[in-house]
Every structure is written in C-alpha cells, then in structure tokens.
Amino acid sequence: MPPVLEVKNLVKTFTLKRGLFKRKKLFAVNDVSFSVNEGEFFSIVGESGSGKTTIARLILRLLRPDRGEILFKGKDIFTMKREELKQYRKRVQIVFQNPFTSFNPLMKVKNIIMEPLEIHSIGTRKEREEKVKQAMELVNLPLSFLDRFPDQLSGGQRQRIGIARSIVVNPDIIVADEPVSSLDVSIQAQIVNLFLRLHKDLGITFIFIAHDINLVRHLSDRVVVMYKGRVVDYGETGKVFENPESEFTMKLIKSLPPIEF
C-alpha cells in the first residue's frame, strides 16, 4: 500500500506568555515523522498534552507548522493553492472529541450533515438531501432525526451525526480526534464498531487519535506513540505493544489493569 499521507519532521511551537516580558516556547509537536498508508487504520496514542490534537489540526491545515511538511499523495499541503487545497479539504474530514460543542445548536440535523456539501457546492438541493439520507443510513440513525436539533439527541447519537457529517462528501481520510473518549463505555463500543465497518466497507483511511491503549490495540493496523511532542514508538500495532522501544510505551502497557475473571 502506498502512503497517502506523509508527515515529515513536523515542528509546531506555541508561545506561552508568562508575565509581561517573559515568553516561553512550548514544543507542542517536535520533529514528528510518520506516514499513513492508504486504506489503513492508523492510530496516534499519547497522554494528554502530548501533541496529538495539534497534529490533527496541522493535518487539517487549521494551523501552520514552524518547520516540516505534510505530503498528501506526494504534495505538500502547506504549499497547495486554491483548487488543489479545496480538493484536499474535501478529501480529509474530521470527527471531533466533544459531540456537545461540535454542532451549531441552532441548526437541524439535516442542515448539519448537509453543510460540507454546501461548502464544496456538491449536487443540487435534491441530490444533497439524498446524500444526507444515505449518510444517515450508513451510521444507523433513523431518518426521523433529520428534523431534530442536536441538543435533543444523546451523546452517542450526536457522535454518529458527527461521523455522518464527515462521510457525506466521500472522503479518503477521516481524522478522528478522540471520538469516543467522552462517551459511555457501552456507546464507545458501538461507535468503534461503526468506525471499523466504515473502514472496511468504504475503504476510508482512518487516523484515530486516542489515549486508550486497549482500544488502539484492538482497532489499528499501525500506531504511533507520542510523548511530550515526540514520537517514541512507531510501527505495526502488534510489534509496538509486544516489544516497545521506549520506556514510556512500556509504562503505558504496564499501567493497564490486568483483566481477571
């Protein structure tokens, strides 16, 4: 499988203000490189503050890096111009962590899911509605939800809407930024299975960001482990977790409570 997304020597710093003149640089992402193959389930694991979300935001080009590049099918996304960039933005979608703030509370579900179609001006009004319905079916939501508002739905249902909103434009890559960490465990399983099904059926490449090792182990083909903005382990999931290179990964695995029956 050829790499669809390559991250090369990515550095992103934030300036922290401390007092009037003191400034401190925070290396949120420090010299990170990895590549994501087409059609694979790729995971980024790390504790909070390790730069996972910053990477997601960089991949979506919501931030610009200080150094390094991200190649999408061989092209640097930060030098892309209008038409190319538009195509890229259509190909890469995101699912957010908190399903309670990721929707405009004044929009109905159908308008929320239709929004990316509107932005990319795909299809006529009727075709858009058809696509929205298809997306709703793909995430197992009843069509009666179309006219509801997001605050009338539960967390799991909302997260499904978040997923429907990202798959409606047929993306190549979905970046899922801790999509299940704010859900109940039973709902988590449903959402995770939904991800797996979409991954298999639609062949979407997933970049799954999480801090739950068990989940990542269960889901992903390959994994990158991050600690304080750096990559400490990178490779196929089985290998990484069986004999990790770094002490941090070791600790992470050891910290899991043993399952006893």
């Binding site: 979506l60 933005r89 259509k90 703030t101 405009n104 004044l106 929004e115 909103r165």
Partner: protein, 278 residues
Amino acid sequence: MKKISNCFAVFFILLMLFISLFSDVIVGKDVFLKRSKKIYMYSPYQIDRDAFLKPPSKKHILGTDSVGRDIFARLVKGISNSFLISFVATLISLIIGMFAGGIAGYLGGVIDFVFSRFFELFYSIPLLFMLILLSPLIGDNLFLFGIVLGFFGWLFVARLVRGEVIKLKGMPFLEFARANGAGFIHVFKRHFFPHLLPPVLPITIFGFSGMLVAESSLSFLGLGVKPPEPSLGSLISQGLNYHDVAPWIYIPPSIVLFLTVLSLDIIGEYLKKRYSRF
C-alpha cells in the same frame, strides 16, 4: 391578552411609521400656503391669529399653543422628526457597533485590547456635555443630530456583538467549517448570523425606543431639535410651561411617546422569544 397587546403594539407602530412617512402629505411643510396639497388644514408652523391657547375644537382638533399653532399638525410633524432622528441614530449605532464589536471579537489579541480600551474611553464621555459642545455644529440639521446620537449609542451593540463573537469563534463547529475551507460568507450566514440575530434584534428595537426617549429628553432641555421645528420632546417641554392652563399641549405627545416606547418594548420582547431557541 398577550395576543391583543402584541397586535396593538404592531398596529400602533405601523400607524406611527405611516404618520412619520407621510407627514408632509398630512400636514404639509410650508409656513404660508394655507391649502396646498395636504389633508389637514393647518401646517405645523402656521399661526392662527384668532386662536391662542385654544382648547380642542372643530377647527383645531387638538387645540393650539401659545402662539396659535395647531397642536395636531405639530404633533404629526413632531412624530416624523423624532422617528427620523431615532431611525438614523439606531442605524448608525447598529452599523458601527456590529463592525467594531465583530472585528474586536473575531481578531482578538492586540486589536481587541485596543478596541476595548477605546470602548471604555468612549463610555466615559458624557453625552450631554458632548451635545452641548456640538450643538452649534449640529444646528437644525436633524440628520446630523441623529448621527451624533448614533455615535454615542453604538457601545452597547459593540459589546454585545464582541462577546457573542468571542463565545462563538472557539467552537468546534466553526473549526469544522474552516477545515472544509468555508469562506467568510458561509461562516457568517450559517453560524454567526443565526447566533447574533436573537440578541441583536431586540437590542435594536429597545435601542430605537431608547433613542426616541434620548431625543425627547435632549429636546426637552433645548439641546435637540431647534424651534420652530417640533419633536415629541420639544412639544412636551413647551407644553409643560402651560400645563395648568392648556394641558392639551403636552398630553398628546406624552401619550404618543409612552405608547410608542411601550409598543416597541412589547415587539422587542416578542421577537426575543420568537428567535431564540433556548
């Protein structure tokens, strides 16, 4: 009951708007022409030498004032003038407030800091004092008076919009739109506008009635509309001089002012409920 009061408010405001738009047709604007093309016999400036401080009669339906001018004609013209000033003032304050608040809130950082200090600076300037200073400049230009009032009324709108924009701009749903490459127009139409409308619309309407009262109180002090031009405030202040001998001068404009502000507040309250989902 609520329905009745809403209907009354809408009806009354429409009536007032109609009067202010067609005041020239109803009472004319000329001093001398007695019967040019107008519906009512007297013009607001015309002096009837046979009637000083006369109570309402068939000839003058609301009576006359101390120099023999017809109160009804002056009231119609006064409503028109007051509404013009308030409208201009509200529009100006809305435009400036939306822009300043939106820019400050959206860009944040240093610009927001500068804007906020500027708001506070502006807030500390006493309106009355400035109006006394500016009154030779304003003269009898009603538009200018409205604009000056508007320049002092935008702070409220600006603060509200700034706060709302700051609240919105960090939301993930905007991030999603931006990650999809949404342009400013899309983001404004889909996200900012629907959120800004419920608070801004009633504020605008309350602001309008506030401007009406401000204009009246300034005219009352002699800082607003210059004689012989009538306005609601100047009519009331003139009438109060004769309140015991000629109550028909100040009562009608007071009632009109009271009912207008009340109706606007009822409408504002209704819209606030209608357009906010929470």
